[in-house]
């Protein structure tokens, strides 16, 4: 394989700085910086109204930022689209109901200078059998796959997906992500917004968490989980002495509900050892923090009320993300 030295091969897939977008008095996007290297699979997480869709619209040139700059492969969003470098599956994208699936793809393909063959994307999106069906009679899931096929036509360097698996069944969702994974191996960058935390956990290299128009955390899945540190030790212990347990090294918090206690700790081994040897505790369980607890911790009202704390979390996460992620990039090229 040739080592291409053209500037575009080394340009970041996304370079956005200080993006701001307001709708009336509402600041949908409130000054975000986003830097995505080529080949990354990035999950864009956040509750409804966090500003994910508005950010995506600006990356695609569908909306103009009020302030800040955005570049896709070193070009303006519109320029990147004209070159077929970026494509997207959006929630809002409409389809012509009176033409067939294949005609939709023929039409889309005719608008680009270079495209993959229509037959190939039909196969890859799993809609080859319904190619001659009118779009209007296709199910929601089939229409979503058609949008995916349309997005694959230009063989984009960056694929942006807004809630891509909505309306798909479990099997459809799995094969969809397998296709995305196979693409990423070829060097395609993928940015997807989702509210399925397990999708982000399982398929993304990196998670960008948005809340109230700001990025509140940015890092690898593991790093994000570590933001809410430690594990939780559960046990059934009638007449527990919370003060004694809280005094153990590493314990952050002790909750008691009836006979059941939950100990948040950075040293779960010490807590478990104490409970099993010094007390009558039984049914001891140790659970890791999951993405959901992080998600709730970072996007809750409580988190917003302590902006200083949240800011330091981002700084740490971003720094580690940059350090760990630069290694595979060098190895690849």
């Amino acid at each position: 394989m040739d080592i291409t030295t053209s500037p575009i091969q080394s340009a970041p897939a996304v370079a956005a700085a200080g993006l701001v977008k307001s709708f009336g008095s509402v600041r949908a996007v409130d000054g975000i910086d986003l830097h995505i290297r080529q080949g990354e699979i990035v999950a864009f997480l956040g509750p409804n109204g966090a500003g994910k869709t508005s950010t995506i619209d600006m990356l695609l040139g569908l909306a103009t930022p009020d302030a800040g700059s955005v570049q896709v492969f070193g070009e303006s969003p519109r320029g990147a689209i004209a070159h077929g470098l970026v494509s997207a599956v959006l929630q809002t994208g409409g389809l012509l109901k009176d033409i067939t699936v294949r005609e939709t793809l023929d039409l889309t393909a005719s608008l680009f200078a270079d495209t993959r063959p229509v037959e190939e994307v039909l196969q890859r999106a799993g809609i080859a059998e319904i190619a001659d069906r009118r779009v209007g009679v296709c199910s929601g899931g089939q229409q979503q796959r058609l949008r995916f096929a349309m997005a694959l036509l230009s063989d984009p360097g960056l694929l942006i997906l807004d809630e891509p698996t909505t309306g798909m069944d479990v099997e459809g969702r799995r094969s969809f992500w397998n296709a995305i994974r196979a693409d990423a191996a070829r060097g395609r960058t993928v940015l997807f917004a989702t509210h399925y935390l397990e999708e982000a956990d399982e398929y993304a290299d990196r998670i960008v968490l948005m809340s109230r128009g700001r990025i509140v955390a940015d890092g690898t899945t593991t790093e994000i989980k570590n933001l809410v540190s430690g594990r939780i030790v559960h046990a059934t212990l009638p007449g527990a002495d919370p003060v004694a347990i809280a005094a153990l090294p590493g314990v952050d918090d002790v909750e008691a509900k009836g006979d059941r206690i939950a100990v948040h700790t950075r040293d779960s081994d010490a807590v478990a050892r104490f409970l099993l040897t010094q007390t009558a505790a039984r049914d001891v369980e140790i659970t890791a923090q999951n993405l959901e607890s992080v998600f709730i911790a970072l996007t809750s009202d409580d988190a917003a009320a302590r902006p200083a704390g949240a800011a330091s979390v981002i700084a740490t996460a971003t720094a580690t993300a940059t350090a760990t992620a630069s290694a595979p990039e060098g190895a690849r090229s």
Binding site: M1, T4, S6, I8, Q9, L60, G61, L62, F73, I81, A82, H83, G84, L85, S87, A88, L90, T92, G93, G94, L95, L96, K97, D98, I99, E103, D106, L107, T108, A109, S110, L111, F112, A113, D114, R116, E120, Q123, R124, A125, G126, R147, M150, A151, S154, D155, G157, S175, F176, N178, A179, A182, D183, R186, G187, R188
Partner: protein, 271 residues
């Protein structure tokens, strides 16, 4: 979904399509959509022919001017034939313009914004498809005329057909586009269809303006169908063009084009 047959490494050296994405595949699909749409075919082709058969055919032997038909004078049927052909071309043109509004409401124009297609080129492709359907409508109505015994000189066939087609397409595509951009959704098509019937009546396509009451005549002269239909039918009588007709046609065209341009700019900013 099967695994990727395309395993080659992704390259990013891409070209931009020429002519803002203009291409014949898109044009062909647009035209197919119209020809497959039964309602479009009924309103643009069946309806004008039917009206011609009902109103025009019985007057194949009625002379339009002082010149008898036997001496090469035009018949009233020829006059009605040109009017109906224009009605078909107008219908096709307005429906085309209005379809832009419908497709925007359905989110299709947003989808197209993810492709290199220039929004203006999109409109141009649709206009061409609409004009081609309008040409079918004119040709079909003229064929019905010829079949029923309308006799015109070659110059008259061509000049009435071409001017009727082009004038109707120009003015009414602009009207349809303007309404399509201003009125979101399916309503655009219904509003324009209704408007066309009303304007066609006022402009003298269904009923000669000269037979209308005086106050109707003076209103008719200011409506958008009047100017273009008078110009298109002028070759039948051999009279010259009235300056008022030309002013009428140009003024309405300018108004609709300006309205479309304004609405279009507003629309692309919003997408």
């Amino acid at each position: 979904m099967t695994t990727a047959p395309a395993s080659a490494r992704l390259t990013l050296d891409r070209r931009v399509p020429p002519f803002g994405g203009f291409n014949l595949t898109y044009l062909r699909i647009e035209l197919m959509r119209k020809l497959r749409n039964r309602r479009t075919l009924i309103f643009t082709i069946v309806f004008p022919i039917a009206l011609y058969v009902i109103i025009g055919v019985p007057q194949v032997d009625t002379p339009l001017t002082a010149t008898p038909i036997a001496q090469g004078g035009p018949s009233v049927a020829a006059y009605i034939m040109v009017s109906m052909a224009m009605y078909g071309a107008m219908m096709s043109a307005t429906q085309t313009g209005a379809a832009v509004g419908v497709e925007r409401a359905q989110g299709w124009s947003r989808q197209l914004r993810l492709t290199p297609l220039n929004p203006l080129v999109n409109v141009i492709i649709k206009m061409i498809a609409g004009m081609l359907l309008g040409l079918f409508a004119v040709a079909a109505t003229f064929a019905a005329g010829a079949f029923s015994g309308v006799q015109l000189s070659a110059a008259q066939w061509i000049s009435t057909g071409l001017s009727g087609w082009i004038l109707a397409a120009a003015v009414f595509t602009a009207l349809g586009l303007m309404v399509g951009y201003l009125v979101p959704g399916e309503n655009a098509a219904q509003i324009t269809s209704l408007a066309i019937v009303l304007l066609a009546f006022l402009g003298g396509l269904f009923y000669p303006v000269s037979s209308m009451p005086d106050f109707m005549q003076s209103i008719a002269a200011f409506t958008p169908v009047y100017g273009i239909s008078q110009i298109a039918r002028a070759p039948l009588t051999g009279e010259g063009l009235d300056l008022l007709w030309v002013v009428n046609a140009l003024a309405w065209l300018a108004l609709f084009v300006a309205g479309t341009a304004w609405a279009f700019r507003r629309d692309t900013q919003r997408v």
